[in-house]
């Protein structure tokens, strides 16, 4: 992937990173196929959950509307932006790994990890506040969905942080970090981001 001499690297980073070295070569499946198998299947499983939610909601909107009123959309937006930013950093990490700029890649990875951890903190805070404030029993159907969806999602985020930690070990600990490993880990992380976009829309915004 290009020369390793400092002059070339300096020149590369002086302008935008050249397209050829950071983008995949041709029709290329990013990461291991088995991870895509998992991602697509997981998305279908979540689709079943979403279908159930919308169906229940459309049949009896009242408890859902009342419950939704008690959620803070602002916190939801904050979480969305945090996760989108972490996704950006992880995607940039993959590009840097491809260009063999491992130090840059690990910096991006650290930033992405930090955002992911930040998401979990904000989510934990939101839960704490919600449980502390309590909610009327009439809104129970909504809140069961709320805690289930966000809970399942948080489990995915935790797993994602573990995977990112393994990627860190690959980047820093091995002589030749595998690009495929970075792509596979990133695919999982972006799935987590994608799920949150859907959950945020369905729980916080949809009427």
């Amino acid at each position: 992937m290009g020369s390793a001499n400092p002059a070339a690297i300096a020149q590369r980073s002086a302008h935008s990173a050249p397209r050829e070295s950071i983008e995949p070569a041709s029709r290329h499946c990013p990461g291991q196929g088995s991870m895509w198998f998992f991602v697509i299947g997981d998305l279908w499983i979540f689709s079943c959950y979403f279908a159930c939610y919308i169906h229940d909601r459309a049949r009896h909107p009242e408890p859902f509307l009342q419950g939704q009123q008690l959620l803070s959309q602002g916190i939801g937006v904050l979480n969305t932006v945090i996760l989108l930013t972490s996704s950006l950093f992880v995607a940039l990490c993959v590009q840097a790994t491809r260009a063999r700029e491992i130090v840059t890649a690990s910096r991006f990875l650290a930033l992405g990890f930090a955002c992911g951890a930040g998401f979990m903190l904000v989510k934990g805070g939101e839960w704490y506040l919600k449980i502390h404030a309590g909610f009327p029993e009439s809104t129970e159907p909504f809140f069961v969905y709320y805690f289930m969806f966000t809970g399942l999602h948080v489990v995915h985020v935790a797993l994602g942080l573990l995977i990112l930690a393994l990627l860190w070990r690959e980047l820093r600990g091995t002589k030749e970090p595998r690009v495929e490993f970075a792509e596979t880990s990133a695919t999982y992380w972006h799935m987590v981001d994608l799920l949150w976009i859907a959950i945020f829309a369905l729980l916080y915004l949809v009427r």
């Binding site: 002086a14 998305l43 979403f50 959309q73 976009i197 949809v206």
Partner: protein, 93 residues
């Protein structure tokens, strides 16, 4: 690092954040008024979420440069999800 941050992915990120703000504005609650069922708002929010997810899949997940089977699977799932959500929302009662 800044070279990467000046790349196309950052533009995608800005679009995503902007889309988030737009959907927030769309779904925003009025001042203390109780929420009402609203198909237009829901459809708008779902459409924006669809666009956002597609941006993430296409650019962050690099499906744009992926083999056709993957592209069709991702797009197919996305369209199916959006249609299913809207159909269930409209016709479940």
């Amino acid at each position: 690092m800044t070279a990467y941050l000046r790349g196309p992915l950052t533009l995608v990120w800005m679009l995503l954040v902007a889309a988030t703000v737009v959907s927030w504005w769309l779904g925003a609650r009025g001042d203390g008024r109780p929420l009402q069922v609203n198909l237009a708002v829901t459809a708008g929010v779902v459409a924006i979420a669809l666009v956002k997810i597609r941006l993430v899949v296409w650019h962050f997940m690099e499906v744009r440069t992926a083999p056709s089977w993957l592209r069709y699977n991702c797009d197919g799932w996305l369209v199916f999800l959006a249609l299913m959500v809207l159909a269930l929302y409209r016709y479940s009662s």
